[in-house]
């Protein structure tokens, strides 16, 4: 950096970290567009956004784990009517970035667990900011309505596409805020007693069960819990007794579920 002819040398790691945070926030802004404003091809879902950011930061494994767990937990938090769900995209991107940037050489299990715990503090702010933006977006429709004469096309396009910039900025700014705050929290966590680290390593192992329970609870219609138990029995038997590969089991269970519901219709 240069201030009035005086050169200030920054440690390479700080500059690099800053650049990485900005790049991830920019990526978050672009990926976040897919959530509402552009296409909705689901690259904004945690199971895709997490690994994508992990790949950008050189540790796809952390992104895969965080993405999978957050996907299970938030997949059925759906946008119905005026309800604005938690922004799982920003949460997944921030948690992945925090866990990777907060480690030296590969995110450790306890750090991934801690990053996932930090996401509990991100949910409410993302919802509040999203709601604020959606209230303010009404001005775009108003400005398009008040446009007159020959420039009506330009007015509509300009108003509507301004929404893209707003949704981009929302994700960009939130990622730019959450990641540094999360990294500071990680610095504090690293200095905490060893039992907290063991706790976070255990925490990450319990989250898949929470995710599964949330899916069962939200999809559960009378009698259909039997599908859950049937899937469990088939998979457990094939794994433990016949040592069949997981991929084949998943396909078999899905096919079994499909045939069972077809048969019972």
């Amino acid at each position: 950096m240069l201030f009035v002819g005086v050169k200030i040398k920054m440690p390479l790691s700080d500059t690099r970290l800053l650049i990485e945070i900005i790049c991830i926030a920019l990526a978050g802004g672009v990926i976040g567009l897919d959530r509402t404003a552009l296409g909705q091809f689901m690259i904004s879902q945690p199971i895709v956004a997490g690994p994508l950011v992990g790949w950008m930061l050189g540790d796809i494994s952390a992104g895969l784990v965080i993405g999978a767990l957050l996907e299970l937990i938030w997949v059925l938090d759906i946008p119905v009517g005026t309800f604005v769900p938690a922004d799982a995209t920003i949460v997944a991107i921030s948690a992945t970035a925090i866990s990777i940037l907060g480690s030296a050489g590969g995110a450790r299990s306890e750090l991934v667990g801690f990053s996932l715990l930090l996401t509990t503090g991100m949910v409410q702010p993302t919802m509040m900011v999203d709601q604020f933006i959606r209230k303010r977006n009404a001005r775009f429709a108003e400005s398009a309505s008040s446009a007159a004469g020959d420039d009506i096309d330009q007015a509509i396009s300009r108003a509507h596409l301004s929404g893209l910039a707003v949704f981009f900025l929302k994700s960009f700014v939130l990622c730019l805020f959450f990641i540094p705050v999360g990294l500071i929290a990680v610095m504090v966590f690293e200095k905490m007693p060893a039992f907290t680290h063991r706790a976070m390593a255990l925490f990450i192992k319990l989250l898949p069960y929470l995710g599964a329970a949330l899916v069962v609870r939200k999809l559960s219609i009378r009698k259909l819990e039997w599908f859950f138990l049937a899937g469990f029995i088939v998979a457990a038997s094939l794994t433990l007794v016949f040592h069949v590969r997981a991929l084949i089991i998943v396909v078999l269970v899905a096919a079994m579920g499909f045939l069972k519901v077809r048969y019972s219709e």
Binding site: L117, R134, I156, A199, Y209, F227
Partner: protein
Amino acid sequence: MGNDEHMIRKSDLIKVFLRSLLIQASWSFERMQSLGFVFAIQPVLKRLYPDQEEYRSRVRLHQEYFNTQPYLAAFILGAVAKIEQERVFGRNGDGNVSGMKSALMAPLGALGDSFFWGALMPLAAVIAVALLITGAWWAPLLFLVLFNIWHVGLRVAVFVWGFRSAGDAVALMTQYRFTIMAKRFKAVSLAVVGGTIGLASTWRQELKLALFRPGMINTAVALILTLALVAVLRRGGSPVKLMLGLAALCLALAYAGVV
């Protein structure tokens, strides 16, 4: 009355479809997708109404309140394009395009939310998570393929159907049977989630809760843990509260030296 020069072309419909991908770019609580709708339909209106006064009048009409499931909005866009064309060629009086939009947006919204968000997305997600959690790094790609084959295929199909049928939603629902498909997808999702728990002994190392040596006991514990959490959820509680509760439990166990 219109002439052939002002008949809608394939390129106009393609532009409408591509613009429909941005239908929620300016979503607001007050006007929802209204601006997105008029932005999407503009190419067709431009083709059909060369007279600027009439064009602006139709644009103003389509700035009315509109909101539905974003994928199924393609059906209404296709239908509106057809109705506007029929109107220009004097085949359907004044068309009552507003009535058609009002009648369809709520039912298609409910149908689309229930099918795409409530059934298809969880199905693609749980299949991908089941594979990922057992070591398949390519599972996110599979998720995108599974979801978008349905998403893009249906989005294009309903757009074309909307245009050809001028908004015959009954025929649409008969053809695609969204409710039945949603029920099947939910059942399969539950089976796959059960299968994922049954595969607990094969999960990635960082996620495997190997408390006891024999795999069968670990797998049984996995089932009990999941059912216990389902029971807790039935009493109420958000994902955040449960995550915090689990974290507190983990801290207590670690502090007590259990882990």
